[in-house]
């Protein structure tokens, strides 16, 4: 599997700085689980954070602060949990990687899809107070993806099957990014149903924080 369509540097930076909303973070984290390339970009973005921490002003620390921390460590010593035992499951056994599988409350086979008509199904994902909305979409082979009517930024991550849109194929791990001005009509590939995570109405605020660059700089 080779991912061709990655997430933009602005999203990587916003995720690294911790200011990305929950729904968009869910999509970014799920893409990262499938994409070593973008995890590499994330490490670079986090090392920007590390360097900025080194350069932070040095605030005054009250006496006894370190002792208080040692006290707390003593207190929690016994509750240190052993490292989790990796699940003994065949690689590739899951369609939904973590953290999405937890959010969806299981893998694709057990999902309670809701019909949108024409064989298309969806499942809203609860992402708390996040203004952006996340949902899983199920598109039968060769069917059109319904118009989501998004206002802000729309991100679509393919998890199974494929879709074709605007001259390009999107397969497992690929992310399509579209803003409200883009009129598009993705069509699922003919081989199998397409399952994807769509995040709509992502706030465009982070767009102004971290400018879109003419060329990427984190390696993607």
């Amino acid at each position: 599997m080779t991912i061709k369509h990655h997430i933009g540097d602005d999203l990587v930076l916003a995720y690294a700085s911790g200011e990305l909303d929950e729904a968009t973070s869910l999509l970014v984290a799920t893409h990262m689980a499938l994409c070593p390339h973008c995890r590499q970009a994330l490490e670079l973005a986090e090392s920007i954070g590390g360097t900025l921490i080194e350069e932070e002003a040095e605030a005054e620390i009250a006496d006894g602060e370190l002792e208080a921390i040692f006290g707390r460590i003593e207190h929690t010593k016994d509750s240190a949990t052993p490292a989790p035992v990796p699940e003994r499951v065949r690689r590739g056994a899951y369609v939904l990687p973590q953290p999405l599988r937890d959010y969806a409350d299981g893998d694709v086979d057990g999902l309670r899809w809701r019909s949108l008509g024409g064989g298309v199904r969806h499942l809203p994902i609860d992402t708390g107070a996040s203004r952006a909305k996340a949902r899983l979409l199920y598109i039968p082979p060769a069917s059109k993806v319904p118009d989501h009517g998004h206002r802000g930024l729309e991100l679509t991550l393919v998890l199974a099957g494929s879709f074709y849109d605007d001259g390009a194929w999107f397969r497992r791990g690929d992310v399509e990014e579209a803003d409200a001005t883009v009129e598009h009509q993705p069509v699922a590939g003919p081989e199998e149903a397409c399952i994807c995570l769509a995040v709509t109405d992502a706030p465009l605020r982070f767009r102004s924080l971290i400018p879109r660059l003419a060329q990427p700089f984190l390696g993607i």
């Binding site: 990796p86 660059l213 700089f217």
Partner: protein, 228 residues
């Protein structure tokens, strides 16, 4: 951190009345100072990394105290950006250092610098404390997780090397560029708010951020042989 070369040149030209020889002499000195600075800084950071390993392997309290002395004053400034005045800054600080103690074994010095690793711990703690929304993360132990050593996942530079390139490139930014980069990266403030705070026109803020990221990109693509 030492003075930026550009500032030193500016100072040098003022002091030596723009004499070329004077500037070059001062510049030679400045370069040496900067090289000394950067090697002092990198040995300080290697030390921090060694302290973190000592905490992980031997529960070394002296090493932990050294990490605290270096990072606590800086992290306090970082947390204040998000929770100034709500009284929980000290609480988050304690949570963060308790997490550094208990999670130290997860630190891998070949992957990240101590400051980057500690940054990610502090970031997660402050999101838990100050934000209503969660920040989902991938799980490297998940069977569906795609590791690096699969086709399409090759990397050519070590993690540490790449992190060092970022660090070096950041050091080359002007103080002004770093200031806006810090505000844009750390704070949930749009450009307009940054501009108001710094008393600068919005266009200046935007162009500084653009220049800062542009420099990082150019520098990274040069040093990393086109991969980055």
């Amino acid at each position: 951190m030492g003075m930026k070369t550009s500032n030193v040149i500016r100072l040098a030209s003022m002091r030596s009345g723009f004499s070329r020889a004077g500037i070059l002499a001062e510049l030679g000195q400045a370069e040496m100072t900067e090289a000394e600075d950067s090697s002092a800084r990198s040995s300080e950071l290697d030390e921090m990394s060694a302290h973190l390993v000592a905490v992980a392997q031997e529960q070394d309290r002296e090493a932990f105290a050294a990490l605290f002395r270096y990072f606590a004053p800086r992290l306090k400034s970082y947390f204040r950006r998000y929770g100034e005045g709500d009284g929980r800054t000290d609480e988050v600080m304690q949570e963060t250092f308790a997490a550094i103690w208990t999670k130290a074994r997860q630190f891998d010095p070949s992957r990240a610098s101590a400051s980057t690793w500690i940054y990610t711990i502090a970031r997660n703690q402050r999101i838990d404390a100050f934000r209503r929304e969660r920040r989902p993360q991938f799980d490297p132990n998940d069977p569906a997780f795609v590791p690096e050593n699969v086709p399409g996942g090759e990397i050519s530079l070590t993690h540490r090397e790449r992190a060092e390139h970022v660090s070096e490139a950041m050091a080359e930014l002007s103080d002004e560029q770093r200031e806006v980069l810090r505000l844009a990266f750390f704070e949930e403030e749009p450009h307009e708010a940054i501009a108001r705070r710094l008393g600068l026109p919005i266009g200046t803020v935007k162009s500084r951020i653009r220049l800062a990221y542009g420099h990082l990109r150019t520098r990274l693509s040069k040093t990393a042989g086109g991969l980055l």
